[in-house]
């Protein structure tokens, strides 16, 4: 590894690990004997118990508001069907004592009076272990499941999110710290200790008597995942943890971290006020060769024949079902048309440009269609031996490229076992990972300061 530990900017850095129990997309392998239920409570219990045994900071759930479609039909190829995050985490709070519980919840199809209260409830039932991954959507397609329909302009999605957070924080701050009367007091709460929240903004016109006090960690920890410039600025102003997609390549990770630190300075926050936890997959083998072989086995089960054809079909712009994904790329030119948008929100690029790149890579590396899909798909993280990965991760953290990882296991519910049993001890040996929980709240695990609205004014 590069240089000695002491030369690195953060020699005492600690890695933080979270686990993302995935409920959608093709990275979860559903076809093998090890593939457990995606919905039975026992699967969630199993995975969170493993994560807590491994001293993870947080257990993280995504959110679904409409079942995915492709070509106007329900997408059949990937795992699907997942629980409501806050309900599930409230149940898991009863089975765990330390691990953080992070719910993805969007600010478009929720209202602060309801959602901020539900998050408070989770925070209290877990004695200060709740987190909120704030996401936005402006999608009219999603809106078809909700009373208001697709009401929000794309340009207003972060505006609404920010105003939503302002109201939520005001609710969380509405009970004074000494609201409870003294023993024998004639009132349940000290008079004047609870302040109603009234807000009139472009997005909200609300008058709320909040019903919950603060938890031991003050507020739920705010997570954010947007990667656009606007999303990064939103995170710099509001978030305490950012999930990035910049955790595979060291230079890319460091560039992202450097960019976020500049944005934090620009809004007057300390550089360490936002923890950077890229999403990643970790594949472990006894040797490098074995790990690489395992990674190939995993990729072929994540990107099945049908999935490879579906992904390529998106690029070519027509249905490729029935072709042989383990043969050459389609000979035809792609159909050039604006995307329907239902599969995602990727920026549009001329498919002729993409197909030419696919052809160049397939030609140069002698790849089949499926191998090309895998080769050019998103970089999915890290493959190696426990000691090799521990060295690499310690370097990432000490160099200031990230604060840890949000791990996406490729198997439910046992996909964390390798990481907890084999990688964690190596990290501990290197002094870069805790050997016991030292706090009880998620905020303490992450080494975060008080919530942004609860600090002495500067």
């Amino acid at each position: 590894m590069t240089g000695s530990t002491a030369d690195l900017p953060r020699p005492d850095a600690q890695l933080h690990l979270g686990v993302f129990f995935q409920g959608v997309n093709h990275w979860t392998i559903w076809s093998e004997p090890e593939s457990g239920s995606q919905i039975d409570f026992a699967s969630f219990r199993r995975m969170i118990t493993t994560a807590e045994r491994g001293l993870f900071d947080a257990f993280f759930l995504g959110e679904g508001l409409r079942l995915r479609e492709s070509g106007g039909q329900i997408h059949e190829l990937d795992v699907a069907g997942r629980p409501d995050a806050i309900t599930q985490l409230a149940a898991l709070a009863a089975l765990t004592t330390r691990i953080g519980l992070v719910a993805t919840q969007n600010t478009t199809f929720n209202e602060p009076a309801d959602l901020a209260r539900r998050l408070s409830g989770l925070d209290l039932l877990s004695a200060g272990r709740a987190g909120w991954n704030v996401v936005t959507t402006d999608n009219a397609w999603t809106g078809e499941n909700f009373r208001r329909g697709g009401f929000l302009d794309h340009a207003d999605r972060y505006l609404r999110a920010e105003q939503f957070l302002d109201v939520a924080r005001a609710m969380w701050d509405s009970w004074s710290g000494d609201w409870a009367g003294t023993a024998g007091s004639s009132a349940w709460a000290r008079p004047g200790s609870i302040t109603p929240v009234r807000a009139t903004t472009a997005q909200f016109d609300v008058d709320i008597a909040p019903t919950l006090p603060r938890s031991p960690q003050g507020h739920p920890v705010i997570f954010q995942a947007g990667d656009s410039g606007e999303g990064r600025d939103f995170a710099a102003r509001n978030a305490e943890v950012i999930f990035s997609a910049h955790g595979s390549d060291f230079d890319d990770a460091l560039a992202f971290a450097t960019d976020m630190r500049a944005r934090l300075r620009a809004v007057g926050r300390p550089e360490d006020d936002l923890k950077i936890l890229p999403g990643t997959e970790i594949i472990i083998g006894d040797t490098e060769e074995e790990a690489e072989e395992k990674a190939r086995w995993i990729r072929m089960r994540q990107v099945t024949q049908a999935t490879a054809l579906a992904i390529a079909g998106q690029v070519w712009g027509f249905d490729l079902a029935g072709r042989d994904a383990d043969g050459p790329l389609p000979a035809e030119d792609p159909v050039v048309a604006e995307p329907t948008g239902t599969m995602g929100t990727r920026r549009w690029t001329d498919p002729r440009t993409i197909v030419q790149r696919w052809r160049d890579v397939a030609e140069a590396e002698k790849l089949t269609l499926r191998e090309t899909v895998i080769r050019l798909g998103p970089q999915r993280g890290h493959v190696g031996t426990p000691s090799g990965l521990a060295d690499k991760f310690a370097h990432f953290a000490r160099a200031g490229a990230l604060d840890g990882f949000n791990v996406s296991p490729y198997f439910t519910p046992d996909g964390l076992d390798d990481i907890v049993d084999r990688l964690v001890p190596e990290l501990q040996e290197r002094g870069v990972y805790r050997t016991a929980y030292t706090g009880t709240t998620l905020r303490e695990h992450l080494g975060l300061r008080e919530p942004l609205t609860r600090r002495p004014s500067v």
Partner: protein, 358 residues
């Protein structure tokens, strides 16, 4: 002998009386610690109750008490703290998003492995609309319309996945079979919902739907809660839809004080709103006699203890054992779903049923 009387208990806050907190054995701050929820539900489960309900509102509970944790969150936490107790949170229908509610309730059924119910209520208070920034939904008819539509949408969404929709067919690379997933395409007077659900069909197929008698169309309710001042009133009340549960307020004699004195002391602090519910203020033996009589005219009771910390103890020590001994009531059997405990069949999926008949 009539079939066993189903025993439910309301566990919100510190008890049914607005001043109950004054007699609780914990401070107001301890209302918000996880141990409080765990202790209450485990007490109810150990006592042998079939079901716990959890009242809720976006507004403060009242009687000077300013807070409560949301009922769905409490019920989910309770689910993972118990093994046979049924759990039915109050979830309002007037302003809530039916799609979110359906996801939350289906998830509750999964975390409790089939022990979940839903106590359907309305939000008549304009302050709820103000908290959400919505126009007030006013008047009985509009409140009933929103309740009906919310239940229709929930039931449709719970059925929008057939039980075997996740096929994991390796040969074709398909995890799902889309022919077993259904758009609900609900179109009501005030909103529409496309579906399908994001959560698979819950273990019970459909959760047990509880509602005050008369709120919902008769074919949408599984258990009617009837309010009447005496046994004859209970016998005559309700629409006859589903099972009939009588609402009963309970204040029992304790070692420290007679029930009327306990009630009087609390009444001196705060008046009680007139609920019109049947009420028992007195001895455990008197309550056993009343419930034995009710078993002839009702399928179940929902008890509202005056002060949970006192009356739950008395119910557990003196009332439920006598009912079990006499065969008037029975403990739920481990491994049962709430539906099966109530003798309700697991419903056929409406969408699958349509295909068969088509």
């Amino acid at each position: 002998m009539p079939p066993p009387l189903h025993l439910a208990v309301e566990l919100d806050g510190d008890g049914a009386h607005p001043a109950a907190w004054r007699r609780s054995r914990h401070t107001p701050e301890q209302s918000f610690v996880p141990g409080r929820v765990r202790q209450l539900v485990q007490h109810a489960e150990n006592a042998g109750f079939t079901l716990a309900t959890f009242d809720d509102s976006l507004l403060p509970p009242g009687g000077g008490v300013a807070g409560r944790i949301g009922a769905v969150e409490r019920a989910a936490f309770a689910a993972a703290s118990t093994s046979v107790l049924g759990l039915a949170p109050v979830v309002a229908t007037t302003y809530t998003e039916p799609f979110h509610v359906a996801s939350q309730l289906a998830s509750l059924d999964f975390v409790s492995t089939g022990r979940a119910g839903w106590l359907v209520v309305t939000s008549p208070e304009p302050a709820v609309a103000a908290a959400l920034g919505r126009p007030v939904v006013g008047g009985e008819a509009a409140l009933r319309r929103e309740a009906r539509d919310a239940v229709l949408v929930n039931r449709d969404l719970w059925d929008s996945w057939e039980d075997d929709a996740a096929i994991r067919d390796v040969a074709t690379g398909r995890y799902l079979d889309r022919t077993k997933l259904h758009y609900v395409d609900f179109v009501g007077e005030t909103y529409s919902v496309k579906g399908p659900a994001i959560v698979p069909r819950p273990p019970q197929g459909q959760l047990v739907v509880f509602a005050p008698a008369g709120l919902l169309p008769t074919d949408q309710v599984d258990v009617e809660l009837v309010t009447a001042a005496d046994v004859a009133g209970v016998a005559a009340a309700g629409t006859g839809a589903g099972l009939r549960f009588a609402e009963v307020e309970v204040a029992l004699d304790t070692a420290a004080a007679a029930a009327p004195d306990r009630l009087g002391a609390l009444d001196a602090h705060a008046g009680r709103p007139a609920t019109g519910r049947l009420r028992h203020v007195g001895s455990a033996a008197g309550l056993v006699a009343l419930l034995t009589e009710l078993a002839r005219v009702a399928d179940g009771v929902r008890l509202h203890p005056l002060v949970l910390d006192d009356d739950l103890q008395e119910l557990s020590a003196r009332v439920l054992p006598a009912l079990f001994e006499a065969g008037v009531a029975a403990r739920p059997v481990a491994g049962s779903t709430l539906r099966s405990t109530f003798g309700l069949p697991r419903p056929q999926n409406r969408f699958a049923a349509e295909e068969v008949s088509a």
